[in-house]
Symmetry: C2
Subunit: 416 residues, 2 copies
């Protein structure tokens, strides 16, 4: 089925700058042939010698063969990267020995064509789970042709090549100044359903010309992930393929960052955190069937971790999501969802706001409760919900979307 674009789709793909040291190419293996989508379904990125990388991945115990390879390569390759191949249409998850063979064939094609060590090559796949690939060389056989076409990245073509139920291609850019030099971070992401990242995300890649040691890059990425990709949920389902990686070519003129006390790291961290949040919110706004973008902010919890659990339980509640889809300021369901989390909630201090409209306070409906005002907030395309659960210092923010008929249509039809 051809999906209508999300109402949050940008009018056009952003104009993304080149990142020195990064080349790319895309091609089609025919996964989307005949589906009315003029798009490719595989991309190859290559990186100059010396490029550092870091990654965070799904915590799913049924993670894909590609995720398992990336984890292994990050360790055996010491955090250096030369190439990345990603395909859509088939997630290579739960494909058993055949999935491993596909990875071996792809990696062999990459090392042969690019003359780079296998452990500096990374993979990902997204699409149907458990569907065997037609032959192990299905992706690998596309590598030589892409190598011939390597050029400065066509970011939009790359961002389209790994879409599945996404209705728009997702890209973002941030820059920061380090040593008087402009550092560029360019990123692309995909994701729409099966979004409840657990320490990682759907597929997202960020490329920068910053020079930074692998351990610092890893630390920066983990810091950026928590309030961005780990703070979004579409449907509470965690993918087998969640992957967020950053590649730092060091091709800028700024000196390398190798010391964890380097004050320039703060500048880099802010830019990396910003681009992660930008991409993560694009994923939520393209959530399957989403008609509303919802921010849940929880404060007053006993800890940030507790606030995160409460915010996620509110964001994942089908009853909260269906009410908001219907413009219903059904705040009782927020009380319910906060309660089901099992985390400490001080009922007498519990307060809830829709936008600036306070609907509940001191253990009951607010004396100033105004149903019409609250409903008006819920009729907006973007809804802010704030929940105070006590007098603690713990806080967290989670981003989600509503649950609509379109989600059911998409997920009843997706595979076939």
């Amino acid at each position: 089925m051809k999906l209508a674009p999300s109402s949050f789709a940008p009018s056009c793909f952003p104009d993304l700058p080149i990142v020195n040291g990064v080349s790319a190419a895309t091609c089609s293996r025919g996964f989307y042939a005949g589906r009315d989508l003029e798009r490719d379904d595989v991309f190859l990125f290559t990186f100059d010698h010396g490029t550092r990388c870091a990654g965070v991945f799904t915590r799913s115990t049924t993670a894909s063969a590609d995720v398992r390879w990336c984890r292994e390569a990050l360790v055996s390759g010491g955090g250096y990267a030369r190439a990345l191949v990603v395909n859509s249409g088939n997630s290579n998850a739960f494909t058993g020995p055949k999935g491993v063979l596909k990875n071996q064939a792809t990696l062999e094609a990459m090392t042969r064509a690019l003359k780079v060590p296998k452990e500096h090559c990374f993979l990902a796949a997204t699409g149907v789970i458990g569907e065997p690939l037609p032959d192990p060389n299905y992706v690998g056989s596309a590598v030589p042709g892409m190598v011939e076409q390597l050029a400065s990245p066509n970011w939009q073509a790359c961002a389209r090549a790994f879409m599945t139920t996404d209705t728009y291609a997702k890209g973002a850019v941030r820059t920061c100044e380090i040593d008087g030099v402009t550092i560029t971070l360019t990123g692309i992401a995909k994701g729409s359903g099966m979004i409840a990242p657990n320490m990682a995300t759907m597929l997202a890649y960020i490329f920068t010309d910053a020079g930074i040691a692998p351990d610092l890059l890893d630390q920066s990425l983990r810091t950026a992930t928590q309030p961005s990709f780990n703070a979004i949920t579409v449907d509470s389902d965690t993918s087998t393929s969640d992957t967020l990686m950053v590649f730092a070519t060091g091709a800028s003129d700024a000196a390398m960052m190798t010391d964890s006390t380097d004050p320039r790291l703060v500048t880099f961290q802010k830019a990396l955190s910003d681009i992660c949040l930008d991409l993560a919110l694009q994923v939520v706004k393209d959530g399957e069937g989403a008609s509303k973008f919802i921010t849940i902010s929880v404060a007053g919890a006993v800890s940030d971790a507790s606030a995160r659990i409460i915010a996620a339980d509110i964001a994942n509640s089908p009853l909260v999501k269906t009410a908001l889809a219907a413009n219903d300021a059904n705040w009782g369901r927020i009380v319910m969802a906060a309660g089901k989390s099992g985390e400490p909630v001080d009922l007498a201090a519990l307060a809830i706001w829709f936008g600036s409209v306070k609907v509940a306070e001191q253990g009951g409906r607010s004396p100033s409760y105004d149903e019409a005002a609250a409903s008006a907030v819920c009729a907006r395309p973007e809804i802010d919900i704030r929940v105070k659960v006590g007098h603690g210092a713990g806080q967290a923010r989670v981003y989600t979307c509503d649950l609509t008929h379109a989600y059911i249509d998409i997920n009843g039809a997706y595979r076939t």
Copy 2:
């Protein structure tokens, strides 16, 4: 809105026998007036002197005032019961001091009209969360009239009086022989949405003429709850009002059971477990919007607790539920849901069956995979899914329903 009956609705309410020592009455406070529902919305049960009781309740940290009172009364009253009043239309959850006042007024009316101690009186309420009651005596003022009409229970009228989005009244009966005497257990339940009981359930009450000490009754009830009410989920949302209570009048001629090694307890336990499962499955089959009844059986886990978490994560997955609604044997989503649980899964041993059709084994799609056969199973109204996750002895079974457009319609419209 008037809901169409679930396709699983029985052709008629079961013929339930009297339980000696139990009387009842119902009345209407007008909660459902004008909604095309010829039904009452409050019931009163009274029990002969000496009736023992036990209860399990929601673990929600935002539990209703009624749940908090029942917990207190079970302790202060020593596990004895004389009366029970339940209303629908308003859950009395997150109603602050007003909710406590409503309970006080209701309890005063019960103690005055029935001449029984307050701590032997139990309450429950179900309906909208957070909506203040018009006046504290709203339910209490109905008590004297109901006391005048007390009679042998009209079970169907009682089962209808506490329905909310339920599309049919739920009742069940079991009997067992103890000391050559027939013991009767009669139960009623309500529940349709916000169903993911956590150590308890929606509202369900079981009445028996067995004689049994409160501590043994409590133990028996907890044993019966785990594989029944704690094994069902409609939408992963846990109610603020979940309550399951059993009242044992001791009015039969069988001798009292007071010793935990009494072999007659085994007989009673089986009957109690059976009626709990019967009522729990009636709740799932009336799940909001449900078109299919789904049984998820997990085996081979490292423990029963681990199997329960995996089975619940599969049952709660919106992607699994929407696929089944569309007759799609999308077993990859079962792999995903098993993986997101974080519980140990041995990928090489993972196997999945839809009915008797094996679709996955040894870490990949089954060599004998037959899409048409699997889809045919998924087109049935009742679907059995078996998942083997390893070689352990842990197993569990969870019951759920599919996620359909009707769920979204009901929950966008329910409050208004």
